[in-house]
Symmetry: C2
Subunit: 241 residues, 2 copies
């Protein structure tokens, strides 16, 4: 079923109005009519089954009729600390990582990064990236839309805010003692940062820039840059969901 | 390092010639010269570090100088039984699943499949798909190139050749008792089939067509069709590698 997000706090059998561009989507894209239903995630991250009770010009009025109890969010919060990637690979990584449960994205300037952006370009990109993430959140039935922003050089990152920081370093593909499954289990609610390198790989300086980093290998094969977060997120989901 | 595949059985310090289109790749794409090195996987699935000792017109002669001992293949053999998917999504799934360790692909005709192909088209597609898989195998340092072919309707599949067959059924996204991590562990060398549905999902008939099927959910979020095998393969790699 189609899912939307609102900042409102919904209540059963109280009427609400759909905001902004979702109105256009409901009327012109989905071509919903009165009595059609959709899912709405409200400001409290609760999910409601909603029924359209009135459509007038650009105003859609709806009624939350049922509250869902199941959560689709990972018990551990995973922030993906990612380099810019060439072409469509980056947006693809955002879409998939959102599907796979990432809670946030921070883009860093990799030493070997091929893509360089000025601030004007960055702002434009963020608008597009947020749309990709929002659509993937709706499609995969997330209750949270992951945020995304630009950070600086990896070495300037302050990781103290994370309970754990895991970094995938290609050089370790054959060191089984660094397998992801050798890591201690994390606790529900803990915050994780996952760092991976660009097409050209991480430099040694980046791979060891913080003593808190836990270096892992993602299996014995060499994954493309954009594949690394999917391997990590799938494994986290496998363990904790 | 660049990796190629050969049917020859290599031996240290014996000279060999590069076959067919790899010759073009070495001379014109990689622009290798005498003394440059690459990796070659031979017919016995052994990996050798090789050195070019002569390049003449369209003939590249090389010398295996070192044999690698590490395997990059999964201890369990995973066959991906997949529907045709729209547009580039299918080739993308093949590339990623190869990276993530799949050992074989069988394409089935899904009840809700959007894409239909006649035999002539199928043959053309297979040629392209095999190239995608071969390149992903080289890039991810596989020692086996996964095979791919077309099967018929899912309900006509004979699964008796597999030790286990796992099927992902979207309807179960919220049934935690079907989480992948509730499955018994598989033994090294066992053969696994993993089945997932097309964009429109599996029909009930397909989801339960064989009593040997083990139904699983791939986390609580709704994954796009092409994402399902990556979640499964990552989890298998997490457990067994």
């Amino acid at each position: 079923m189609q899912r939307y997000f609102t900042q409102d706090q919904l209540n059963i059998n109280e009427t609400f109005e759909v905001a902004g561009e979702d109105t256009h989507h409901i009327i012109n894209v989905m071509r919903f009519r009165v009595d059609d239903t959709f899912e709405m995630v409200d400001g409290m991250k609760n999910v409601y089954l909603c029924k359209i009770i009135n459509i007038e010009e650009q105003t859609v009025t709806y009624l939350p009729v049922e509250k869902y109890e199941n959560s689709s969010e990972m018990p551990v919060r995973v922030t993906i600390i990612c380099p810019m990637l060439k072409g469509e690979k980056f947006e693809w990584m955002l879409q998939k990582s959102t599907e796979f449960g990432a809670s946030e994205f921070i883009i860093y300037e990799a030493d070997r990064s091929i893509v360089k952006l000025d601030d004007k370009k960055k702002d434009k990109r963020l608008i597009r990236y947020r749309r990709v993430i929002k659509e993937a959140s709706e499609q995969s039935k997330r209750t949270v839309i992951p945020d995304i922003h630009f950070g600086g050089k990896l070495k300037q990152f302050d990781l103290s805010g994370f309970d754990h920081t895991v970094i995938a370093y290609e050089g370790n593909a054959h060191d089984q003692s660094l397998s992801l499954n050798r890591l201690e289990k994390f606790k529900d609610g803990e915050s994780l940062a996952f760092i991976f390198g660009p097409e050209g790989g991480l430099t040694e300086g980046e791979a060891g820039f913080d003593t808190a980093l836990k270096t892992v290998r993602l299996g014995p094969r060499i994954l493309r840059a954009e594949s690394a977060p999917l391997y990590f997120l799938s494994s986290m989901s496998y363990i904790y969901e």
